[in-house]
């Protein structure tokens, strides 16, 4: 688990945006502005919430990328990522891939794991509700995985994943 100071998180977010744009991701408002917020929720947690479009030919439907993280202060200026949701929604090939960690207590109690994935060969049609997910290191790792899936220009093979239920 990575602990970060608030200052580290500001740099992390700026680096992340820079990386996305280097890879030709078009960020959607409000993340395309000159000043971007690391949002503080009423419970004090800090949230990164980015949405972008991957580069597609004009005739193609959109490919959406969503990167969400929630960081909670566990010690004096020591923040821990307690939740993430990273998603790729490919509207042209009509599939969805998602790497999730949220509602940790519920998932550990029911499935014995905190992280899970969603894999829909046809978007909106779930063959399995939750798959075993390899923990994601950070948003850069998630971006690599989802961008790599998009770059293959094929639907994902969800059958290679282990269904949790």
């Amino acid at each position: 688990m990575t602990l970060a100071s608030a200052s580290d998180l500001l740099t992390y977010l700026a680096d992340l945006i820079e990386t996305l744009e280097r890879y030709a991701v078009t960020l959607l408002p409000p993340s395309d502005a000159d000043e971007v917020g690391l949002e503080q929720e009423p419970d004090g947690s800090l949230v990164i919430d980015l949405e972008g479009r991957l580069p597609t030919p004009r005739s193609s439907k959109d490919v959406d990328l969503l990167l969400f993280e929630r960081w909670r202060e566990v010690d004096q200026d020591a923040w821990l990522c307690v939740e993430y949701r990273y998603e790729l929604r490919h509207h042209e090939l009509h599939y969805r891939l998602a790497l999730h960690r949220h509602d940790e207590a519920h998932f550990v109690r029911h499935f014995g794991v905190a992280t899970h994935e969603h894999c829909e060969v046809t978007m909106g049609v779930e063959t399995c509700g939750h798959y075993v997910g390899e923990p994601v290191i950070d948003a850069f790792d998630a971006f690599d995985r989802l961008y790599g899936a998009w770059l293959s220009d094929q639907k994902p093979d969800c059958s290679v994943l282990q269904c949790l239920g």
């Binding site: 977010l13 945006i17 280097r22 030709a24 000159d34 971007v36 690599d144 790599g148």
Partner: protein
């Protein structure tokens, strides 16, 4: 299938440099690329085109600020504008 990436060899031909020089650019993180495995590197065409044009993303100013309040509504549902509550 659409072609979305170049191999290092293809980039080497486009830039008229050696394969090793391309991998060096990738290793130095100068050229945007994706390492699929230790032996396989892919260079996204869209990112490559930007790099060739000399594009450099602008560094954002990032600050901590209160999250905007999000009101969730149903599909096709329009919520009335907020107004001051009137007490009897």
């Amino acid at each position: 299938m659409a072609k979305l990436y170049y191999t290092p060899k293809e980039v080497a031909e486009i830039l008229d440099i050696s394969d090793d020089a391309v991998l060096d650019l990738v290793n130095r993180r100068t050229l945007p690329a994706l390492r699929v495995s230790p032996r396989i590197t892919r260079i996204p065409i869209a990112a490559f085109d930007l790099w060739r044009e000399g594009y450099t993303p602008r560094r954002r100013r990032v600050s901590i600020r209160p999250a905007p309040r999000k009101v969730v509504g149903g599909e096709h549902e329009t919520l009335p504008a907020p107004r001051r509550m009137v007490r009897a």
